[in-house]
């Protein structure tokens, strides 16, 4: 058995269960009937549970789901896309340790008390438990990074029939292609959110205005993109907000071809799929001409462009595997 699997699937779960059970077994006879589980603003306990209730609640809410996530990661990481295992293992270890830690903290702080109403404000213990759980989560996440993962088969396939134009560039020549692609209806939706925010702000509804303005951000992000193809690769950025959506370094590009995008074949409108998680992604703003980019590890990126020919020609001119060499007969 792989050491990493052993740590995630056996050692951390054993530790979590030990943390949950041992303090209780040790101080069981010195506990009051009920344990304080909630405190009001001034630190006075205002709700309680039996020890069994506490175990059931924390167990079902945090420990069991957390351990399941950890063990599933240890067992099945090979069938998960690359970023899934560290995420699942980290989150699972965090919530399982959190649940076990809260049980341990509650039990230990109630030892030798005659009633739950005497319990002290546990903020220090709770902070300690959260920090400890976060530390265990980070460790699990780092351990899980080294597990084998699935090289996903791309959702979207190759484009064998597409032509791959190529720009002839002399050594000292540099070419950049830039196009802004927009979906007017997404932009209009975002703009209507902003208009609504301004309107309610005019009526003094500040909180609502802020909520509306923030809701407009993701909408505007996906409404308009600037696509740039040059010697460094292909980049798409939100035209309004400037954030980068996708950057494909030129070293990763095998070839770029032209295709006719039928949105339903590529998952619909907007940004579909994910290069990291699904091995393929499509940025579809409308029906019609687009560029199909094939990466050297078989991943696929599709983007709708008015002038896909120029964009593809620049990428092919700089691509790691020159298109012409594919046709070379040996």
């Amino acid at each position: 058995m792989n050491t990493r699997r052993l740590v995630l699937g056996v050692m951390i779960p054993t530790g979590v269960i030990t943390l949950m059970v041992i303090p209780y077994l040790v101080v069981r006879d010195r506990l009051p009937d009920r344990l304080a589980t909630h405190f009001d603003g001034s630190g006075t306990p205002d709700a309680s549970m039996t020890p069994v209730g506490l175990f059931l609640m924390m167990g079902l809410l945090l420990v069991v789901p957390g351990l399941l996530m950890l063990i599933a990661t240890a067992v099945a990481s090979g069938r998960m896309p690359r970023p899934a295992a560290p995420f699942l293992a980290g989150l699972g270890a965090f919530i399982a340790t959190l649940g076990a830690g809260i049980i341990a903290e509650t039990v230990i702080s109630h030892r030798d008390l005659s009633s739950w109403t005497d319990a002290a404000n546990p903020w220090f213990g709770v902070v300690l438990v959260i920090l400890g759980a976060a530390a265990v989560g980070v460790v699990a996440s780092v351990v899980a990074k080294g597990l084998p993962y699935d090289r996903m088969t791309p959702w979207f396939g190759p484009n064998p029939s597409g032509t791959a134009p190529r720009m002839e560039l002399a050594d000292a020549e540099r070419a950049v292609f830039v196009e802004t692609i927009s979906a007017w209806w997404i932009v209009a939706l975002g703009a209507s959110f902003i208009a609504a925010a301004v309107t309610v702000a005019a009526f003094g509804q500040w909180f609502l205005a802020v909520v509306l303005a923030f809701s407009a951000l993701p909408v505007l992000f996906f409404g308009s993109f600037r696509v740039q193809a040059d010697r460094t690769g292909l980049a798409t950025r939100s035209a309004f907000l400037g954030f980068r959506l996708v950057k494909i370094p030129i070293e990763d590009i095998r070839r770029a071809t032209i295709l006719d995008v039928e949105p339903m074949k590529w998952g619909g409108w907007g940004y579909r799929g994910s290069l990291k998680l699904a091995g393929s992604a499509a940025l579809v703003m409308r029906r019609g001409p687009g560029m199909h980019v094939e990466l050297s590890d078989d991943r696929v990126f599709v983007v709708t462009l008015d002038d896909p020919k120029t964009a593809a020609a620049i990428l092919n001119a700089h691509a790691a595997t020159p298109v012409a060499s594919e046709c070379r007969v040996r």
Binding site: A172, E173, R174, A175, V176, V178, E179, D230, R231, T310
Partner: protein, 115 residues
């Protein structure tokens, strides 16, 4: 929009850049109100210094083709399509005049006579 420059050409890079962007405006690829990409991104793609690109943009601004506002980027002006063609013709006129050895005064009076 396609911008293409030649680092080995005699013409200075900033002139090539201004010419390329102007051509995109004249051909209608860049329309009034369109924003140019951030100078940093364009410059790195073209392998030129940001200041070289800014110098080209300054030329275009002086010709009335673009508007540069701090924090809001560079946008094509409403008058750009008309002025752009004139700026191109003026470039050609000056080039031709230089080749035939005309002085600045001669070129100016030539244009003045036509007005």
């Amino acid at each position: 929009m396609l911008l293409k420059i030649d680092h080995s050409a005699k013409q200075p890079l900033h002139e090539q850049l201004a010419g390329q962007i102007r051509a995109a405006i004249v051909s209608g690829e860049l329309k009034p109100g369109d924003k140019l990409p951030p100078a940093r991104e364009l410059a790195s793609g073209l392998d030129v210094n940001v200041h070289t690109l800014l110098r080209a943009l300054k030329t275009l601004k002086e010709e009335g083709l673009v508007d540069m506002r701090r924090g809001r980027g560079t946008a094509v002006t409403a008058a750009a399509p008309r002025v752009g063609r004139l700026a191109e013709l003026a470039d050609e006129l000056v080039d031709e005049a230089k080749r035939s050895g005309m002085s600045k005064q001669q070129v100016l009076s030539l244009v003045e006579a036509k007005l």
